[in-house]
Symmetry: C2
Subunit: 338 residues, 2 copies
Amino acid sequence: MRGAVLYGAGDVRFEERPDPKIVEPTDAIIKISATCVCGSDLWSYRGVNPISEPTPFGHEYCGIVEEVGGAVKTVRPGQFVIGSFFASDNTCPHCLAGYQSSCQHRVLMGAAQWNMLRVPLADGTLVATPEVPSDDLVASLLTLSDVMGTGWFAADAANVKAGKTVAVVGDGAVGLLAVLSARQMGSERIIAMSRHPARQKLAREFGATDIVVERGDQGVARIKDLTKGIGADAVLECVGTEESMWQAIHASRPGGTMAYVGVPHGVSLDGQALFFSHVRLHGGPAPVRRYLPELIDLVWKRKIDPGKVFDLKLPLDQVAEGYRAMHERRAIKTLLRP
Amino acid sequence: MRGAVLYGAGDVRFEERPDPKIVEPTDAIIKISATCVCGSDLWSYRGVNPISEPTPFGHEYCGIVEEVGGAVKTVRPGQFVIGSFFASDNTCPHCLAGYQSSCQHRVLMGAAQWNMLRVPLADGTLVATPEVPSDDLVASLLTLSDVMGTGWFAADAANVKAGKTVAVVGDGAVGLLAVLSARQMGSERIIAMSRHPARQKLAREFGATDIVVERGDQGVARIKDLTKGIGADAVLECVGTEESMWQAIHASRPGGTMAYVGVPHGVSLDGQALFFSHVRLHGGPAPVRRYLPELIDLVWKRKIDPGKVFDLKLPLDQVAEGYRAMHERRAIKTLLRP
């Protein structure tokens, strides 16, 4: 197989390794149709999360089932499937409660920026599309593996619905898809925080009604201005820094919800400030698996087009340029085709 | 007027001061029927929250309206009333959303361990009982000013309902009344964490089905044992230390809620650990005003008896002993009668 290996900060290489094999009877091997670079990959690419050895990278994937283990019952070779960045059995109590990314047997996926992938717990993890999709649907289907499901979780965790005012902190792919999710869930007032014209434009296409370019305390003040001094009912935090988390908490009204879906880095929340904010918090690694059937249906019926977040499409062997472009914020998100 | 002045750590004195007067036309003056010492008063009594000057103390009260300002419309002299530890207008957007303790015009109450009290924003703050209560109801009605409303908020914020497993961290008055609240809201499985026999007994009277004496990681392990390794659906944190907050977070299942109602002291929450816990957080100063009509009704009809938390009843002039007994954990909560 051929794909991306991260060697250290700023150093991603395209390499060849032996093809993956069925290890457990619950495994599937898939031939990747498309994969991509995640904002969270940049934490490692930038050296914030150091790696100890050269590591096959990537965790977003969709493709055609090549082979399944003897215990796999619900997916079969030839099907087009999508899975989450956490493999899950989908039968344990946490899965049944809808928190598949906290599955008691979860496996964090890696080595997905490749042309072949072994997926553990295939029955619990993979969801097949009605048939093999036309090529123009692949980008949108790929987003369901992580960023679209994550934006959707943010909106769901913040209890977004018709009549609610929503603010979104972060204009990366997840933030933009959180805007799309809030719109899809019926919110009429969606405030996107962004200072990048191309991202502002996409936010508006996805349903943002207001754009706030200020950050920090000034950004909070602007959101208060836009909400008659009250604050937003729901704030979707899609970054993961301490500044962005407080910005999100302070932009929320008392009794509102701050949903956070960017993995926090160097974040420490003062308990007393949180207490007096009166804001509800919910977040964590998105249980993308919970939403796959519903989101596949929305994409299949062309009701949503989350694939628009890919503003750079490269062949997989140019993965290094894909990382660079996102690192330098020249691209929102890079699609890679083997 | 006569009442409690805190001079510094361990030093509460009973003193005389000029009677309170109507200052704003929205004020009321009430003659206190009963007041009490709060667990949160101990933060100051123990010197954790230092005070800068001798301070009239206390924030829990009920009594008979003596006089009202010219703008007061809904309460009148002679009525028996209860108010929250935050005065609120009950008309601002935060109040209308049920977060009266974040009222845009809130006033933190003080000087309630006295025989007379000025209450600002009387129309928004005070709720009258159907008539002047018989003396045996006064203790339970007094708890609605803070501890009962706070325990109720914890259970409400954690979305407690029939069929849910609830754990309560903290066996002070608020923790014990959180047990009572969870029972009243229909929870059949209520795990109280306590190592004090007298408090365990009261927890069982209030509806606890299980007692866990272990703390920290061992306490968490015990709750996991009791819930088939899953964790509780709702954990009510009624202490406010970093240890108790993590104990509560880790005792909760992914997707469960940790409600925290003890003012956090020296608490700093690691964002990444919180993220991967998948636990919902909600808390803050309880919007006691929201619950007053419902809770007065429950006490009036003798469906709940939260006044049982007072295991020490003293005349107001012995307030110093009331603090000492709670500080030394000889008493759960001290009732004071002027």
